[in-house]
């Protein structure tokens, strides 16, 4: 039953919403009109056809072949891949370092706790951009020139022009390599299933599982050794061969990793401390080893506390990868929102595409977190 009061309230709500939509719509129309006028006044074209036009500039580092004759579309993809590469490496490295630091934050050793606390307090209270510029300065100024590069075991070299790593040559062996990797993956998967089945039945894993996992590991090692590794060689004024990482790239990854690891460390510490002390003591009283306590008693509930804020931090790393622009590494913002926009003047199109990329990436992280949350929430019952 709807009384006259509710009907009136409903009407008011409808009018209010209509007014809001009208106001926002009017603003949008006004902005669109201004934009069109301004674009015409500046003689700028519009449309997405520029994506198939030749860009005419080179990109210093790209995962796909790009040269001066490539189209803007290809430049967009190259920049996007570079951004993703930075974000992925930053996330992996910051997670590893962050977990180590977070566990050290609650270690029984007072000096270790003190030092990691000092690290966290020092690092997270400084702007990320300051970290980046500092690393850039350190790498460019304190590292030796190519001639006196620091050798790392004779296969990798560090100089002020960047980091040189050995890289496998994937020529005629590619098929053999891929099939070996596939076989190793299948063996590892079967071993994992056998392990899980045995554990859920409370039995020891069968000999076959152990054999398979050892076999896959052996295969992996063989592949790694058997690859045609190309070691960087000094020739003339630079190293040839192998993989060359620009100093901008190295300082960017270093800054992203060290900065975000401090935040992840605090998240991990809070997660570990959120597990009641009694749980640990009870597990110890039941005779579980300290490794078992960590794996079976502390980590599962701690993860529930750790994952949502850590996902937030991952979003931060993805967005902060755009700082590459500051040091001149060709990420998406640098090559697309920067150079491509300057050359084509397609402001609206390029801004919209760049915004869409970051929104999609952030939404993907949010969805993944939600899925994970649902999984760990089920385990709780």
């Amino acid at each position: 039953m709807i009384g006259p009061r509710q009907r009136r309230a409903k009407r008011v709500a409808f009018i209010q919403q209509a007014l809001v939509l009208l106001a926002v719509g009017l603003l949008a129309v006004l902005i669109a009109r201004n934009t069109v006028i301004n674009l015409q006044a500046r003689g700028l074209a519009s449309g997405f056809d520029f994506l198939w036009q030749e860009a005419g500039f080179k990109i210093a580092f790209a995962l796909i072949p790009v040269d001066a004759t490539s189209t803007y579309g290809r430049v967009f993809v190259a920049g996007l891949l570079n951004s993703l590469l930075i974000a992925a490496l930053g996330i992996i490295a910051a997670t590893l370092l962050g977990f180590l630091l977070g566990i050290a934050r609650v270690s029984p050793s007072p000096p270790l706790r003190f030092l990691t606390r000092g690290y966290v307090e020092l690092v997270r209270n400084l702007p990320l951009l300051l970290h980046l510029l500092l690393w850039q300065a350190v790498i460019l100024r304190s590292l030796p020139t190519v001639k006196d590069a620091i050798g790392l075991g004779g296969i990798a070299f560090l100089s002020n022009r960047g980091l040189y790593l050995p890289m496998p040559l994937l020529g005629n062996q590619a098929n053999l390599l891929l099939s070996a990797l596939g076989a190793a993956a299948v063996m590892a998967a079967i071993a994992w299933i056998l392990h899980r089945r045995a554990r859920s039945h409370g039995e020891a894993p069968p000999l076959l599982a152990r054999g398979l996992s050892a076999g896959s590991l052996l295969l992996l090692v063989l592949v790694l050794i058997g690859l045609d590794w190309q070691v960087p060689q000094l020739s003339g004024f630079d190293y040839r061969g192998g993989l060359k990482l620009m100093p901008e790239f190295v300082s960017l990854i270093a800054a992203l990793t060290l900065y975000n690891a401090a935040f992840i460390a605090e998240i991990v510490r809070a997660g570990i401390q959120s597990v009641d002390k009694g749980q640990r003591e009870a597990a110890a009283a039941l005779g579980l080893s300290s490794r078992q306590i960590l794996r079976l008693v502390i980590v599962p509930p701690a993860l529930r506390v750790i994952v949502p804020p850590i996902a937030n931090q991952y979003t931060h790393i993805i967005k902060a990868s755009s700082l590459a622009t500051v040091v001149g590494f060709p990420d998406l913002v640098n090559v697309f929102l920067g150079t491509s926009l300057n050359q084509t003047g397609r402001a609206v199109e390029i801004v919209a595409m760049t915004a869409a990329v970051y929104l999609v990436l952030c939404a993907a992280v949010a969805l993944a977190t939600e899925a994970f949350n649902r999984r760990v929430a089920l385990v709780e019952r």
Partner: protein, 365 residues
């Protein structure tokens, strides 16, 4: 994982622990050594071997820090290219917020409400008028001459003062019963939270001039400030929303029973409780915002970090990046460290108050 109960800091206790955990003891001693060595190296470089007065790089001891560079450039690092004769204006703008804050925090001060309102409404306008001049007999100082710490503070305080009221409105709209308003706000907030600040600043410099009516222009600091304000208002709105949701529904219903309207309920009943509940979160947002002001370098503004970076390429003071960045770092670090302690103390205080409330009312919510 657990040390035996004898691991007190007595000689016998320490020895017993060392015997029980040889690896851990080795690690501890090694780490202590590293910590002491690091401290010694830093003190040696920054204090003992440091040079405080010199005309150029060559006059500095190469073994230690060359603080003469910082001292020489200090006026520039503080005010940018603001004319020397007019710097008293910058001093007023820089010192007004802490003075207002101290006044507002004084216990039993009657005019607190007016101070806060004045701080949020009158201060930005007055500061802008005072800095740029051009009226009241003050000479005009174009905004491209503002720089250094002054610009950092303008951008930081400006973005906070502008984004705070916006964030309150966004948070209220985000929780509104009207679906159209709610979904528009969700879209707005998620858009800004999903954008990197680098891209936001690029966009504000490129897109905002296009959005404005022809012939209407905003200076570069104004454009950057707009971008930063929109960006931080989205984060702040989410913090305030958390506070609004923590206020019990009974409060609103009681206000309704007293025939309070929507705005009166929000102003006198809900907001004071909500903002107090998320004060630590707001302080954390201020810390993030202050660190984010460094990004204005991307659109060519000379904030503290950028002006120091630019000074590093001065031919008379080459190779002093460490000194320059340490100087900037100390300023940011002190500000953020102090604020983060304020934030965690507020949090501790609040959890204590909540616990007392629970004891008094017997609730275990």
């Amino acid at each position: 994982m657990h040390a035996p109960s004898s691991s007190r800091l007595t000689p016998s206790g320490v020895l017993a622990t060392a015997r029980a955990y040889p690896f851990s003891t080795f690690l501890t001693v090694g780490l202590l050594y590293v910590a002491l060595w690091l401290t010694w190296r830093i003190v040696d470089w920054a204090v003992i071997e440091a040079t405080w007065q010199a005309g150029d790089r060559a006059g500095c001891n190469p073994e230690g820090a060359c603080w003469a560079f910082i001292l020489n450039r200090l006026p520039q690092f503080t005010f940018g290219f603001y004319p020397e004769a007019e710097r008293w204006r910058a001093w007023i703008v820089l010192l007004a917020p802490p003075a207002l804050l101290l006044l507002a925090m004084a216990p039993d001060f009657k005019g607190r409400r007016w101070i806060i309102a004045g701080g949020f409404i009158a201060y930005p306008v007055a500061a802008l008028a005072l800095l740029s001049g051009g009226s009241l007999g003050l000479s005009h100082v174009p905004s491209d001459q503002w720089g250094g710490l002054l610009l950092t503070m303008i951008v930081g305080i400006g973005a906070f003062v502008l984004s705070f009221p916006l964030a309150i409105l966004l948070a209220l709209a985000r929780l509104s019963k009207l679906p159209a308003l709610r979904w528009l706000t969700i879209g707005f907030i998620d858009f800004w939270r999903g954008m990197p600040l680098v891209a936001v600043l690029f966009m504000s410099v490129i897109m905002l001039p296009l959005f404005l009516p022809p012939g209407f222009e905003i200076s570069r600091p104004g454009l950057a400030l707009t971008g930063l304000t929109l960006y931080s208002s989205a984060y702040l709105a989410e913090v305030i929303r958390g506070g609004l949701q923590s206020v019990g529904r009974g409060q609103t219903e009681a206000a309704l029973a007293l025939s309070f309207g929507f705005w009166r309920t929000q102003t006198y009943i809900v907001m004071p409780q909500a903002l107090r509940a998320v004060l630590p979160g707001i302080v954390n947002s201020v810390i993030a915002l202050f660190k984010d002001t460094t990004y204005v370098m991307i659109v060519g503004l000379f904030d503290l970090l950028n002006i120091v970076t630019a000074a590093l390429s001065d031919a008379r003071w080459l190779g002093l990046a460490t000194e320059g960045y340490v100087f900037v770092g100390v300023i940011y670090w002190l500000f953020c460290f102090v604020l983060s302690h304020v934030s965690s103390r507020l949090e501790a205080q609040q959890s204590r108050v909540v616990r007392q409330d629970q004891i008094l009312t017997g609730s275990t919510q």
